[in-house]
């Protein structure tokens, strides 16, 4: 893992690969970069050890080895699990952390880097999800119980969780900080002059389509960006319809959300994409702001999202 410190007019930043994405750490005071970046590195490592479905030694893999039994779980794992279950409850299961088998049935049973290099996993019969209500957490005993036949996927919340975790301890550091995990980003502290200028793009390889100034809160984008592949000529991806267990369809190419937290933005972006044409109304009802980029090129905004500039 190689860090790449960079300096620009204004904030300074460092970027490094992790969690199948690029992590970016930016601060408004150059002499604080090393300390903040070290903190973010530690958070990345902690989240990866707890939630990764690709690491054989992760806490998730340990817990799912004994389904049906109460098992001790770390505070970090329980916090992520409770947030995922809360997201499922608040979205009536449109966001579902138990889509793991369905995601793997679509071929995403290996890291996205391996899919890009060697193709997706073998085809399996998809099964509907929806059993998030059966997952139990016992706060008093610090234990969780994963039902038999249910496996968790934190892919829909993990990057946002990492960003919020890293920023939580930096909120009182007295320095402006931006942390991005694969394009899901959040900021705390006094922003740089002119605010944090954040571009909006379909995928990391695509050109910037719009620029907004974020002074507080978080941004996240979901949709058919990098995590899609083909099997037998058919396009597959990681955004699963929990009711069918199959990759969903949507009129949107990507959806970008502004929210108070990065977890909230990440979950809302997926839900708005999955809801299709009902997405903008759902965003407005939840007092969020969103930019929808439709497959046919339309740009639709919801809530207080600024209109794209024409220049």
């Amino acid at each position: 893992m190689t860090a790449k410190p960079s300096t620009v007019a204004g904030p300074v930043f460092e970027r490094f690969p992790a969690l199948g994405s690029e992590i970016v750490v930016a601060v408004t005071e150059p002499d604080r970069l090393a300390g903040v970046a070290a903190h973010v590195h530690a958070c990345v490592d902690a989240v990866d050890r707890a939630l990764s479905r690709f690491r054989p030694d992760s806490e998730l893999r340990r817990l799912e080895a004994r389904p049906g039994a109460w098992q001790p779980a770390s505070p970090l794992f329980r916090e992520a699990l409770e947030l995922a279950l809360q997201a499922a409850a608040e979205t009536d299961g449109v966001f579902d952390p138990t889509v793991r088998d369905a995601v793997e049935a679509a071929g995403y049973d290996r890291s996205i880097e391996r899919i890009e290099a060697a193709g997706p996993g073998p085809a399996r019969v998809p099964a509907p999800a929806g059993r998030w209500r059966d997952v139990e957490v016992d706060r008093s005993r610090g234990a969780v119980r994963l039902p038999k036949g249910v496996r968790l996927d934190f892919g829909g919340i993990g990057k946002g969780f990492l960003v919020d975790l890293a920023l939580r301890d930096l909120a009182r550091a007295g320095v402006g900080v931006l942390v991005s995990a694969g394009g899901d980003l959040g900021v705390v502290g006094p922003p740089p002059d002119g605010g944090w200028a954040c571009g909006v793009a379909i995928s990391p390889d695509d050109p910037t389509e719009a620029v907004v100034i974020l002074e507080r809160g978080a941004l996240a984008t979901s949709g058919l960006g990098r995590r899609q592949w083909r099997r037998d000529g058919r396009l597959l991806h990681h955004l699963i319809d929990p009711s069918t267990g199959r990759p969903a369809t949507s009129p949107w190419r990507v959806v970008t959300i502004a929210a108070p937290t990065c977890v909230g933005a990440e979950v809302a972006a997926k839900v708005a994409w999955l809801l299709g044409e009902a997405g903008p109304a759902w965003i407005a009802a939840h007092s969020l702001a969103a930019r929808f980029h439709a497959e046919d090129g339309r740009i639709v905004t919801a809530g207080p999202w600024p209109a794209d500039r024409e220049d």
């Binding site: 957490v137 016992d138 706060r139 995928s203 719009a210 974020l214 929210a259 909230g264 220049d311």
Partner: protein, 124 residues
């Protein structure tokens, strides 16, 4: 324990008689009667204990349910029902403000120009 409480001790085991005039069968009946009395005492004790235990459990469960506390999962462990006990603040409205205090909201504004941005959000 009086003989009135165990009337069968003599009547059911044969004719009562003077110990001194009893043959070998009397001693055997006496031992058997003692064993039956012991069994009966244990049955009565177990019945009373079971009744008391059920009464206590019924009262305890009523109390904890009324207080809104979990009454236990199938495995006997206390359980957090997450949807019901989830934080009252919505996932989409909670947050940390720029000054570090708990609060809600985000601040988004249009860029003064569509110039270069060093940070991007994208579907990765």
């Amino acid at each position: 324990m009086s003989s009135r409480e165990i009337p069968f001790a003599a009547d059911d085991l044969g004719a009562a008689g003077h110990p001194g005039s009893a043959g070998p069968g009397w001693a055997q009946r006496e031992r058997l009667g003692g064993q039956l009395r012991s069994v009966r005492r244990w049955i009565i004790f177990a019945g009373v204990a079971t009744t008391a235990a059920f009464s206590w459990l019924a009262v305890h469960q009523t109390t904890t349910s009324a207080a809104g506390q979990p009454t236990g999962s199938q495995s006997g462990q206390p359980q957090t029902n997450l949807p019901a006990n989830a934080p009252s603040q919505s996932l989409f409205t909670s947050g940390t403000t720029s000054d570090g205090s708990s609060g809600s909201g985000f601040s988004l504004a249009p860029a003064s120009s569509s110039g270069r941005s060093f940070f991007r959000t994208a579907s990765s």
